[in-house]
Symmetry: C2
Subunit: 94 residues, 2 copies
DNA sequence: GTAAAATAGTTTATAATATAAACAAATTTA
DNA sequence: TAAATTTGTTTATATTATAAACTATTTTAC
């Protein structure tokens, strides 16, 4: 039977964010914005949601005098991502 | 760069429908309803959308005296599904 | 035979979501 | 010093998924 797909991850932008965070130690807001080709507003909202779910950490600091937002995937986020991928495989074969 | 995910397929229920239709010649409404664990209303709406997009055909007839809705994936739907899966692989590895 | 429940859906209303537009606050450039 | 750029956040809107309500027929139970 087809499993539930975690709705927090089953969203193009949030999945993109998580996918990118899987492959790096940490990523800056601007990096994620470029790679996902999203608007800043949308990215900001989705980072908040992932952060509130405990899937990522979002740290705000400064690079010189400009704000700097740094994101990292959490253990819980990694687990959720893997579970999501496994559930998805039930849908797409592979 | 991460590719766009066809929004018509990037939906749990519609993806489930398409996934099931990939593996059979044709499927009845009730079969899809059971396998996807969806409500009839939701299923009806999503079948319409897939049908309008040309991803599936929906044929209405009668089994004895009860209505019978039979669904099949189209060539275009198959292509869209494959494209979607390939795009998705950019997100989930594999 | 007829009232109640089941089957097989559709249509409509609602709640959730994604997304963009508008805004803010500082910094850099011309 | 005015205009543009950077780095975001907040708010509004449009889309979407979903369920609730409804329809029409058929089967079952009394």
């Amino acid at each position: 039977m087809l499993k539930e797909l975690d709705p927090l991850l089953h969203s193009q932008l949030r999945l993109g964010i998580m996918s990118l965070l899987m492959s790096v130690d940490s990523a800056e807001f601007t990096f994620l914005k470029e790679k996902t080709n999203s608007t800043a507003g949308n990215l900001s909202v989705q980072l908040d949601k992932l952060s509130e779910a405990g899937y990522i950490t979002v740290e705000k600091s400064f690079k010189g005098k400009k704000p700097l937002t740094t994101c990292m995937i959490t253990k819980q986020g990694l687990k959720a991502f893997e579970d999501y991928v496994n559930a998805l495989k039930g849908y797409i074969g592979t």
